[in-house]
Subunit: 117 residues, 2 copies
C-alpha cells in the first residue's frame, strides 16, 4: 500500500525510565538514528509532578514520546516519510530504553491517494 | 471509552497555503487555542523545494502538521490529554486555514488500560 509516509502508533506498558528527560531524549535520538532519519530539532520537557514529553522533529516527519510514569505507560509515535523508510526498526530501540513489558503497535499509512503512484 | 488522551489523525486533501510557514504556524497556534491547550513550544520548518513541517509541543501532548503542497496534502495530528479535552474542535480551524476540500478523520484513544479508571 503506497503512501507518502508510515506512521507507527505505539502504546508502551510496564516500562521504566519514564520520568527521565535524559532517557527520553536518548530514546528519541536513537530511534531517529535507527530510522536513518535526519534530526532537525529535539525538545524534551518534564512535567510536574511527573511525566515527560519529548518531540524529535525530523526531515522525514516526527517522533514523539509522552510518558505517564504513574501508569508505567508511554504514548509513542514514529512517523517517517520517504521511499524505503521503515519506522518499525525503532521498536526494539524503544523497548530497550524503556524495558517495556509490552508494546501495542498500530501502523497507519499516511497520504494514500489515487494521484500518488 | 476512557483513556489518557485522544489522538486525531487527519488527512487533508485539496488544500491551499501548504507551502507557507506563516500559515502552518498560525494553524498550529489557532488549533492549540481551540483545544484550550497550553503551548510549550512551536517549531516550523520549510523544506526544499516545497513542503512545511510544524510541531506544537503542548502541555497536553502535541499537534503536528506535515505538508506536501505538490499533492495538496497535509498529514495532521492533534493529540490532547486530560479530562474533557476534545481534539475535534481543531478540525474547523484547520479546514479554515487550509481550505481543504476534504478531511479524513480517524480518532485513536491513547492509554487505555484496565488500571486507569
Amino acid at each position: 500500500m503506497k503512501g507518502l509516509g508510515r506512521h507507527l502508533i505505539l502504546e508502551l506498558w510496564g516500562g521504566r525510565n519514564f520520568n527521565s528527560i535524559v532517557a527520553v531524549e536518548k530514546a528519541l535520538r536513537d530511534a531517529a538514528a535507527a530510522c536513518a532519519a535526519t534530526l532537525k530539532d529535539i525538545r524534551v520537557y518534564h512535567y510536574s509532578p511527573e511525566g515527560v514529553t519529548g518531540v524529535a522533529v525530523l526531515a522525514e516527519s516526527h517522533i514523539t514520546i509522552h510518558t505517564w510514569p504513574e501508569y508505567g505507560y508511554a504514548a509513542v509515535d514514529v512517523f517517517v516519510c520517504g521511499d524505503g523508510a521503515d519506522p518499525r526498526v525503532a521498536i526494539p530501540v524503544l523497548r530497550g530504553h524503556f524495558e517495556a513489558e509490552r508494546i501495542q503497535v498500530m501502523e497507519v499509512v499516511r497520504g494514500i491517494a489515487s494521484c500518488i503512484e
